[in-house]
Amino acid sequence: MEDDLIEIDVEKKLISASGILNLHIKTSLNFGELVVVFGDSGAGKTTLLRILAGLTEPDRGLIRVGNKVWFDSQASVNLRPQDRNIGFMFQDYALFPNMTVHQNIAFAQKDKDKNYANQLMDKFGLTEFANRKPTKLSGGQKQRVALARTLARKPDFLLLDEPLSALDMNMRTALQDEILKAHQFNKTTTLLVSHDLSEVFRLANKVLKIDQGIVTGKGSPDELFLNDKISGKVQITGTLVRIEKHDTFYLLTVITGTNQVIKVTAFQNDIENLHEGDQVLVFTKAFNPFIRKIKR
């Protein structure tokens, strides 16, 4: 057994409006990874997070984190949520309305380390709002408070259940950066539920694909979602936003999953089945791109 491995093998029968789902998640993850749990709604993603958090008890199985057993149905081990050192952020994160930003964060702290609370507020750009109540914050600011609060306990695990699903594109991108920051801040292991492909490519070291309660794929975003039938090693997914004719060729504008604008030349036969709004794959060979440092 390895110390930096999270072993999950849990079963639970779920009864929902759409019928019975036999959830059986068997997989292993490495410490420090940012894992995106990807799948259709009703696939069992949220249940998996709740099981890891200790909020939902599996019917049977085992969860082992390093050398620590969190759950073992045979040995009747079931660590309480507060003993698992996790930070859990739901889609409908609830801030305490009667507390200020600072109090919301401090309340979640085990050690009441004032420096750390200030550090978190600084990290998430909340210092100037420290004394505001949540009703005086924008949606994005509230989400940042919720993230900071989740980190206040210094969790080993961040469990994020579609934390950005209610936000518009710009805010999402900004908060994806915050999630990356949060993940790197304490070198946590992060599990994030999403069904947004650009989010997957932006954030994930690893994707856990779940379908009907079962793991149907695990790997890097490239391995799981890119067309591996193309030898080109530089592959970027994006949205085709503009097609312009220039002289004898076309110039296409593509917004990538990381919100960068790139331009690609194309010829008549390329654009015959391309339309503005299409999701596209831009690819080239590893030999072609130039690279240059912009920041150390």
Binding site: I230, S231, D247, T248, F249, F267, N269, K285
Partner: protein, 133 residues
């Protein structure tokens, strides 16, 4: 992009660099790839796949003689020339296939390219991407 059918004849691999020899009709072609981990299973001798290359990476030569390091020299006949102010697109017949080359209009003029000319389409091996069909 240009996309033509090829049959893989041989695959050489050394230290993550892969050289794939192919035939398009009777014309030998090569593609150089980086496959650091494992060569995909569809890249193996005998398989029919697509060789893909960009119009702007296709150079043209007329009455060519001498030696050249380029691996891909496709004999073609000019079917059509679309002249632009700066860039022209040449439609070429290569056996059963049609490919396009985008070169400067200045080159079209200096080489006196015209319909039905015999030319060689030249593509570097590292500019060719392979795709499974």
């Amino acid at each position: 992009m240009n996309r033509i059918n090829v049959e893989i004849t041989k695959v050489y691999s050394s230290d993550g660099i892969v050289l794939v020899d192919m035939e398009a009709g009777n014309c030998p072609m090569s593609a150089m790839l980086i496959e650091a981990s494992e060569i995909p299973r569809w890249i193996m001798p005998g398989n029919i796949i697509s060789a893909v290359f960009k119009e702007t990476e296709v150079s043209l030569a007329k009455e060519f003689s001498g030696k050249i390091s380029l691996r891909n020299k496709l004999p073609c006949i000019i079917e059509f020339i679309e002249r632009g102010q700066i860039m022209s697109v040449i439609t070429l017949r290569f056996g059963e296939e049609i490919i396009h080359s985008a070169i400067t209009t200045r080159s079209v003029d200096s080489m006196e390219l015209k319909q039905n000319d015999n030319v060689l389409a030249l593509i570097k091996a590292n500019e060719i991407t392979l795709m499974q069909q």
